[in-house]
Structure formats: structure tokens, C-alpha cells
Amino acid sequence: MRHYFARKLLIYGLTFVVAVSVDWAIPRFMPGNPVQNLVSRIALEPQSSHALTSYYMKAFNLNDPWWKEYLAFWGALFHGDLGRSIMQYPTPVSVLIMRALPYTLGLLLPAILLSWYAGNKVGAMAARRKVLDNSALPASYVLTATPYMWLAIVLAWLFGTTWHVFPIAGGYDFSLKASWSLPFVESLAYHWFLPFVSLFLVAFGGWAIGMRNMIIYELESDYANYLSSLGAPQRLIRKYAFRNALLPQITGLALALGAVVAGALVTEIVFSYPGLGSLILNAIQNEDYFLIQGIFLMLIVGILIANFVVDVVYLIVDPRTRTGMTGGS
């Protein structure tokens, strides 16, 4: 077990270092001078633009030798200093991110957990009943092939613009002030629902298909055949099959995280939901490099943590890893 964890932590540590290094390196090695780009977009008198240039050079640490910049970057990182946003100067990047993060997590966490749960349940049922299989399976394939943002667009258009059932902009009603009052919470939920459903549906499709295939595979396995030969009821065999099929679905959760997070971001953009997605869009349009870098790091850290959590869960659930023999990956 220690070997298992040591290996995982090594990979995550390595990944983190690589990611941070990539994050640091890209702006410095891209063609063109990012500082010149920034300054040239602001029409200024030569002296002012000169002053602005030297300010930015200092801010980017572009005056120091590269290894000094690199270390300074790591130092700032551990202080939680991600720099200041360019488009919303002088607000620190970390503040902007922290404002947007709860909205994104509020979409992501329920969507991931519920779609995983529901998808597995439906997939398992479809594996047993031919009737359900013939309807649920094609539907799941359609859902999983649907681009996240397109489903969001269609839902927003139908339920928002056309039928006026749900709102399609913002995290809450703009006329309300943020507080813990009932109308505000209601408004929050109201605005949350459509983006959540959109995320949920696409993710659901993938899990349902995966679980259905895994269950069919398990039901054909040797131990299932043996138990049937010894007269065991289907109830027992299904119970074993379900538990065994869940294991790869748990590792699958870690693998699918990247896709779902990307899906959440684009869904937010469609609904102008004030999470990281809309923040990224703004940052890109305004070429706010610090903000983009900060969000990137946030995503990396978040996903690494989530991966780690899934690994711990897998360790608890698959008895083979505990005995020191890696039955899984």
C-alpha cells in the first residue's frame, strides 16, 4: 500500500512541477514580446508607454536571468500570490479566482457525483433488461457525443428564450443583493438549475454506457459462470458483478475529470454564469495573462487533488490493493 501511494504522490508531484514550469515558461518562450503586445494596445505617449513597459517588465520579472525568475515564480506561488489582474488592475488574481470558484464548484461537484451515480445505476439496469437497453443505450450514446456547450445552448434557447421557464444569464437575479435571504437563495437555485442539468446529462451518458458494458463483461466472467453452475441465484451474481464493475468506473472518474471540468467552463460561458468559465473567456478576450496563468494553476491543483481523492477511494474499495498486489492499475 505504501508503494501504491508513494508512486501516486511521485506522479502528482512531478505533474505539478511540470505544469508550473510550463505555466512559467510559455509566455517567455512564445514568439513575440507579451509586454510589447500589452503596451501597444494602449495608445499612449512615448514617455508613458516607456514607463508602462518598464513596469510590466518588472512585474513579469523579465529583467532578471531566467533561473531567478523561475525561483521567484515558485516563491510567489507558495505565498498564494498569483499576481495582479491586468484587466481589473489592481485586483489580485487570487481574489478574482476565489470569487468565481464557488460557482464553478457548485456546478461541478453535484453534476459529477450525481451523473456518476445515476449513470452507473441506469447502466447496470440496462445490462439486465433488454427493453431498457434498447432505449437507454442509444440515448446515452447521443448524450455522450453531444458537445457540452451545444446542449447548454439548446437548453438555454428552449427553456430560456423560447419558453421562459428558466433564466439564462448570471448566477442570480441582478436586482437582488447577495445575502443569505430566501429570495436570494431561491434565485441562486433558479439560475443554477439549467447549467447543472446540461452538465449532468452529457456526463450521465458516458457513465451509463461504461457501466452497462462493464456489467455485461462481469456477468460473462468465469466466477459468474461458476456460481451459476453451483445454482446460485441471479441476485448474488448481480451483486458481485455490480461491485466488480464499479472498480474501473472509479478509476474512470479520475480520467474523465478533465473533460467534465472543460465542459463546466463552456457551460458557464453559455449561461454567463459567474464561475471560472466566464472568467477565462474574459481573460482571453482581454489578454490578461496573469489571470489566465492563475486559472490554469487553479485547474491543475484542483484536478490533482481530485485525482488523489479518487485514488484514496479506490484503495479503500478494491481489497486487492490493500494486500499489496495491484489488481487494478
Binding site: 453531444t146 451545444w150 445552448i153
Partner: protein, 282 residues
């Protein structure tokens, strides 16, 4: 029945392959012939803005008076190109790494495994975000290269696992004794045994590439020149198409992606049935 003919026989009769294949083929033909049929250049202004579909503009116009239909077929072309290039690159990289790791074993395997795991864990989307944000000029092939270079880990893992099981068999020992080089053995003995699996993998990568490109384009990290399906959706949303109900602008691009990728997935299931006799329904 000779083996090749048997595969073809079942392939042509498999319902899922027929349905999925026809859908993908339809869009492919549309992508190839569409631009010739289009009456206007995709990015040309001149039409009435926000206009619904009619005789002159089959899919209506955008907020800038551009012809949605010609944008749509151009976008289809870009989509297929990205799928082919991105999927192809990912396939080549993933299979090379998988074969090498599985065949060689030892420290090469360990090293490649570590590499695979790191690339696997890094959220590719975030990396693409960073890189694409800094490249001021982007084209479809460049986008395809990025996608290809980040979506190969699962392929490497799967190919490695299969290669490991094949490598332990006697016929590989014989091939090794014959003195042939590793690359040759992999190409002539191992890969052909997995050919069906490799083909199916490529189809999945193709579809995945199209989806990844659409997502990138939608955020604004797509090609800086030309048009794509994701870009169409991006522009539509940014220009209040949702609020104005300009459905002809945002429904076709996403619908096309859903149908093409869905068709590819269904084809994949069909191929699985063709290659794996146990799955064929009696």
C-alpha cells in the same frame, strides 16, 4: 470463408456500421461538396443581418450578415481535418509509446509509464488554454497538433497492455531469434494482431479530436483565421443569438458535431461486433 472476406461480409451487414457509417459519410460528402454549392463566401458580409433561412441563405445569416450555410460547410471541413490530423497524431504517438513500452519492458517501460501518467493527469484542456492563449496566430493544423499531443495517454496504456500479452507468446520469441529489429517485429508481428483494435482506437480519437477542437474554439482559442463549427457557436453566443432566438446560427454546428461523433461511436460498437464474433447477435 477467407478471413478478410468474412470480416467484410459481416461489416457490410452490421446495422450499427451501416447507420453510423452513413451519417458520417453524409457529412463528409457535405463537407467536400458543400463549399462548391454555397452561394456566398463564408466570411463575406453583405446579407441582411440576423435573417432566418430562406431561398438565398439556406441556413439564414449571422449578426454580421454572413451566410450561415457556407460557414457551416467550411466548418465541417475544418472539423474533419482536425479529427483526421489530431486523431492521427494522437494515434501515432500513443501507439508508438505503447508498443515500445510493452515490447521492450524494463527501464524503458518504467520511463514511458511515468511520462504517460504525467500527461494523463495534466488536464489537457488547461495546457491547451495556456499555449493557445499565447500564440497570437493559430490555425487548424496547429490546433490539431496540440490536441494530438495531449490526447494519446489512454491509447498508450491500452496498446502497451495488449503488446505485453502478445510479446510473451512464442511466435515473438521466434521472430526475435530470426534477428529482426524491434521496429520490424512490432510492425510485422504485433501490430497486425491488434489491427482491429488499433482501427477502433483511431475512430475514437477522431471523434474525440472533433469534440476537443469544438470546445477550444468555443472559448476563443480556435483558429484565428477561417471558420469552424466551434467558432460559429462562439460567435453566436457572443452576439446575443440566444437572446434573439437566432436558432439557425447555433443549432446546425452543434447538431452536426453530435451526429458525426455519435455516428463514429456507433460505428465503433458495430466494428467491435464485426471483429469479435462472440458479440454478434444470433
Amino acid at each position: 470463408m477467407k478471413q478478410k472476406h468474412e470480416v467484410l461480409y459481416f461489416a457490410l451487414r452490421n446495422r450499427k456500421l451501416q447507420v453510423g457509417g452513413s451519417i458520417v459519410l453524409f457529412f463528409l460528402v457535405l463537407a467536400l461538396l458543400g463549399p462548391a454549392l454555397a452561394q456566398h463566401a463564408p466570411l463575406a458580409y453583405g446579407g441582411p443581418p440576423n435573417h432566418g433561412p430562406d431561398v438565398h441563405y439556406w441556413f439564414g445569416t449571422t449578426a454580421f450578415g454572413q451566410d450561415v450555410f457556407s460557414q457551416f460547410v467550411e466548418g465541417l471541413r475544418a472539423g474533419f481535418l482536425v479529427g483526421l490530423l489530431g486523431g492521427g497524431i494522437a494515434a501515432v504517438v500513443g501507439m508508438s509509446i505503447g508498443f515500445t513500452a510493452g515490447y521492450r519492458g524494463g527501464w524503458i517501460d518504467e520511463l514511458l509509464n511515468m511520462l504517460t501518467n504525467v500527461v494523463l493527469v495534466i488536464p489537457t484542456f488547461a495546457v491547451l488554454l495556456i499555449v493557445a492563449a499565447y500564440l497570437t496566430v493559430r490555425s487548424v493544423p496547429i490546433e490539431a497538433v496540440f490536441i494530438g499531443l495531449t490526447s494519446w495517454p489512454w491509447v498508450a496504456r491500452a496498446v502497451r497492455a495488449q503488446t505485453l500479452s502478445l510479446t510473451s507468446r512464442e511466435f515473438i520469441d521466434m521472430a526475435r531469434m530470426s534477428g529482426r529489429g524491434a521496429a520490424k517485429i512490432i510492425a510485422t508481428e504485433i501490430a497486425p494482431n491488434m489491427s482491429s483494435y488499433l482501427f477502433m482506437t483511431f475512430i475514437l480519437l477522431f471523434g474525440g479530436s472533433i469534440l476537443a477542437a469544438a470546445t477550444l474554439d468555443f472559448i476563443g482559442l480556435g483558429p484565428t483565421n477561417g471558420i469552424s463549427l466551434g467558432l460559429m457557436m462562439n460567435f453566436s453566443v457572443l452576439n446575443a443569438a440566444l437572446q434573439l432566438g437566432l436558432w439557425w446560427w447555433f443549432v446546425p454546428p452543434g447538431l452536426a458535431i453530435m451526429l458525426i461523433v455519435g455516428g463514429l461511436y456507433v460505428m465503433n460498437v458495430g466494428l467491435d461486433e464485426v471483429f469479435n464474433p462472440k458479440l454478434r447477435e444470433m
